[in-house]
Symmetry: C2
Subunit: 326 residues, 2 copies
């Protein structure tokens, strides 16, 4: 049986875009064997065509004109990995209006424009998937929206940012001050030159906003989530936690409270006996309670080109399976 050909357009080939491309390059034959899908990425919107990327990409695959992808009738799925709210949101809306399915890792655009984006998918009869936007390679959104659908969710708690978890781990285990731990994270590529989005908790608030939409069906914009980062954590706080047989973690939490829900992003003491306490360095984890399944935890790499590429290409495969009948 001939494989079903699926053409994908890629918006943005920075670190994450390169990771998604490389994931497909590494595993394309295996994916075809397992699923009957022959997936390729013929067109890429990217200005920086000269950068060394360690993947095979031809100059003619690059374009500077968004419409070369958004209006190409041969492209059925668009991957948006530009980051930032605009022009990413506009490109995703245009892709869906042109009948294309969309996969994105863009938590900022989703948290800012969730209703518009989900509404556009519905209105245009296309799929919008965003596994990579929360927890990197951890397939948490897929689990919450498929295998766990027989549950009423009671609570979700997450360590959703690798930068801050690395810093807190280095403070607790390496005895580094906040400033030195931040420098170490920057040295390892886990923190950006301007770490504000991460260390002030905004990145986590975006992710929690997306999780709340999915499991509680409520739309809470990230700016309405009480958010505290880790910049105020001192070595005294770390020592106080240790004395209470606990660790300090930056915890995103949302739980039912009567008819409503309560939510926040803030540093919290986590008892060493709790599964989240053992989640160290750049790892992420999501702890969920459902009224049937009880307690579950999902653990893995919350960032990085290949883990994020795994989630992005997983979404592409799911869309392709659903739409080609493979």
């Amino acid at each position: 049986m001939a494989a079903s050909k699926v053409n994908v357009g890629l918006l943005g080939m920075g670190n994450i875009g390169t990771g998604a491309y490389k994931t497909l390059e590494m595993n394309r034959r295996l994916i075809e064997e397992n699923t009957g899908l022959d997936i390729s990425i013929p067109k890429i919107l990217e200005k920086d065509t000269g950068r060394k990327r360690d993947v095979t990409v031809l100059p003619e695959q690059f374009t500077q004109r968004p419409d070369d992808i958004l209006k190409d009738p041969d492209i059925s799925i668009v991957i948006e990995l530009l980051g930032g709210i605009e022009p990413a949101t506009g490109f995703m809306l245009a892709a869906m209006e042109n009948g294309k399915h969309v996969v994105t890792a863009n938590k900022a655009a989703l948290a800012a424009n969730y209703d518009r984006l989900v509404g556009a998918a519905k209105a245009n009869g296309v799929m919008l998937r965003f596994e990579a936007s929360v927890g990197g390679g951890i397939p948490i959104l897929n689990a919450l929206t498929t295998a766990l659908l027989a549950n009423e969710f009671v609570e979700i708690q997450g360590i959703l940012n690798g930068t801050t978890n690395y810093i807190l781990t280095q403070m607790a285990e390496g005895g580094l001050s906040y400033g030195d731990a931040l420098k170490a994270a920057q040295g390892k590529g886990f923190a950006e030159a301007d770490p504000t989005e991460d260390v002030e908790g905004h990145d986590v608030a975006n992710k929690l906003s997306i999780l709340i939409s999915l499991i509680f069906g409520r739309r809470i914009p990230p700016q309405d989530i009480p958010t505290e980062g880790i910049t105020g954590i001192s070595m005294d706080d770390i020592a106080r936690a240790a004395a209470e047989d606990s660790k300090i973690k930056l915890i995103a939490v949302a739980h039912r409270d009567g008819a409503g829900i309560e939510y926040s992003v803030k540093p919290a003491f986590v008892k060493n006996s709790h599964p989240l306490a053992g989640v160290n360095n750049e790892f992420n984890a999501i702890f969920v309670k459902g009224n049937a399944v009880g307690e579950l935890m999902f653990y893995g790499r919350g960032a990085g080109p290949l883990p994020t590429g795994s989630a992005v290409m997983g979404d592409v495969i799911e869309i392709a399976k659903a739409t080609t009948g493979e």
Copy 2:
């Protein structure tokens, strides 16, 4: 929009069958809201109709004749929760030959007759799902066969049996001998009166056989998996592990080794720094490595009526969504 009506037949209403029924009873309205599916279980094959079950089930729902379910044209999905290889396998084959989708938690029947059952699903154009057969409520099979499909799997390691993990935890943390820990497990309902299947590792070998089929596409019957249980573990072994900063866990492992794969079920030292070391008592966990996603771990309740019910009803919902277009 009217909900899509889905009639499900249930084979077996012991502990797990009751848990699946109760999961639906608790969350039926929520499932309908979230998915547009109106799922009910009008018919149940079960001899013990008098048992107190803590769910609302009418006498006329029970039948003693398998064909009342297997040949009922109004039933589109059959849940098999009888356990054991036969008559469960025969009933599943008959259901599929009659065009019904099948959901099962039966690892013994799957491990013994995997090819026949999967082949029958293909031949009859129906779906066969078995999330609950490995890891109870943990949605591991769904993740491996959907969200993680862009990976080549390198290794899988699991703590896949709650009985033995409870016993080993009580030996290590409670200082109990093997015999006393087994009695404690039986007292808590975590071990059966005849614990052979669990403590000799056969239950885990069944589960590993299913995992190997899914991630490596290879069929290894459970009797071909080198299997060692925990009956020979002494307090000296436990102390030796502790001295090496490790815990003894009953580990199912399969990993690529050149063109082949290696696999076994046996007690192993797990370093305390490894995520599996923190999986205690009746909890299960599965640790997976993919060539893109890196290391992942899934943690949760590997047994029990409601966690298993969550997995069973999750499969029912997935089949119903795929077949009704909801």
